[in-house]
């Protein structure tokens, strides 16, 4: 079916506000990843979900960041009390299982004023 989708495509928020980013993976993909990409930088791993296993949260930069995934479908990444350094493009990717090619969504560009 369709590829990975993310919403919103752009989000502008004020420092201190909470934001929620959404990712719809490709149907049937059991693995889901969140990455952060700052302007002109590489991809920074945030969190990985695989089926019903406990997520790998080792890349979350602080306790202001959290993510959930409902079964093998939608995932939300929540950033509480946003800071200016949180400004970046947040990319979601899914794959059939771990170790397979990852399909990336278009990303959410977050700007914290």
């Amino acid at each position: 079916g369709a590829g990975v989708s993310q919403s919103p495509s752009n989000k502008v928020t004020e420092k201190g506000k909470d934001v929620e980013l959404r990712c719809d993976p490709i149907s049937g993909h059991t693995a889901l990843y969140w990455y952060r990409q700052r302007l002109g930088q590489g991809l920074e791993f945030l969190i990985y979900f695989q089926g019903n296993s406990a997520p790998d949260k080792s890349g979350l930069p602080s306790d202001r960041f959290s993510a959930e995934r409902t079964g093998e479908s939608v995932s939300t990444l929540t950033i509480q009390r946003t800071q200016q350094e949180d400004s970046a493009v947040y990319l979601c990717a899914s794959s059939l299982i771990g170790y397979n090619e990852q399909f990336f969504g278009p990303g959410t560009r977050l700007t914290v004023l």
Binding site: A31, Y33, Y35, Q41, G42, L43, E44, F45, Y48, Q50, D56, S58, G59, L91, G98, Y99, N100, E101, Q102, F103, F104, G105, P106, G107
Partner: protein, 110 residues
């Protein structure tokens, strides 16, 4: 354990070749290569799972030297469409997440 990519940037004329290297200090299970065009999401090119194995995608191929913990991406007879930033992503045994290099920006000019 972010892999190290080199060079940071390369400028080519159409038809020229280039090599991008990706090195890890830790034993690798696999190496992924992705290309990202400006303002777009990264797109998968190939995965290399075994030492010395070479894979290809159009005129783009890659090798994986398990002894050196290094992968190289070869752009042969480059086309304008090859322009973009190339990222290698490394996976380690028992670890399903990718660690991406900082990227190599390739510019192909007519």
């Amino acid at each position: 354990q972010q892999p190290v990519q080199s060079p940071q940037a390369v400028i080519l004329r159409e038809g020229e070749d280039a090599v991008i290297n990706c090195s890890s200090s830790k034993a690798l299970y696999s190496v992924h290569w992705y290309r990202q065009k400006h303002g777009e999401a990264p797109v998968f090119l190939m995965i290399l799972l075994k030492g010395g194995e070479q894979k290809g995608h159009d005129k783009i191929s890659a090798s994986f030297n398990e002894k050196k913990q290094q992968s190289s991406l070869y752009l042969t007879a480059s086309q304008l469409s090859y322009s973009g930033t190339y990222f290698c992503g490394t996976e380690y045994y028992g670890d399903y997440k990718l660690s991406f290099g900082a990227g190599t920006t390739v510019t192909v000019r007519a």
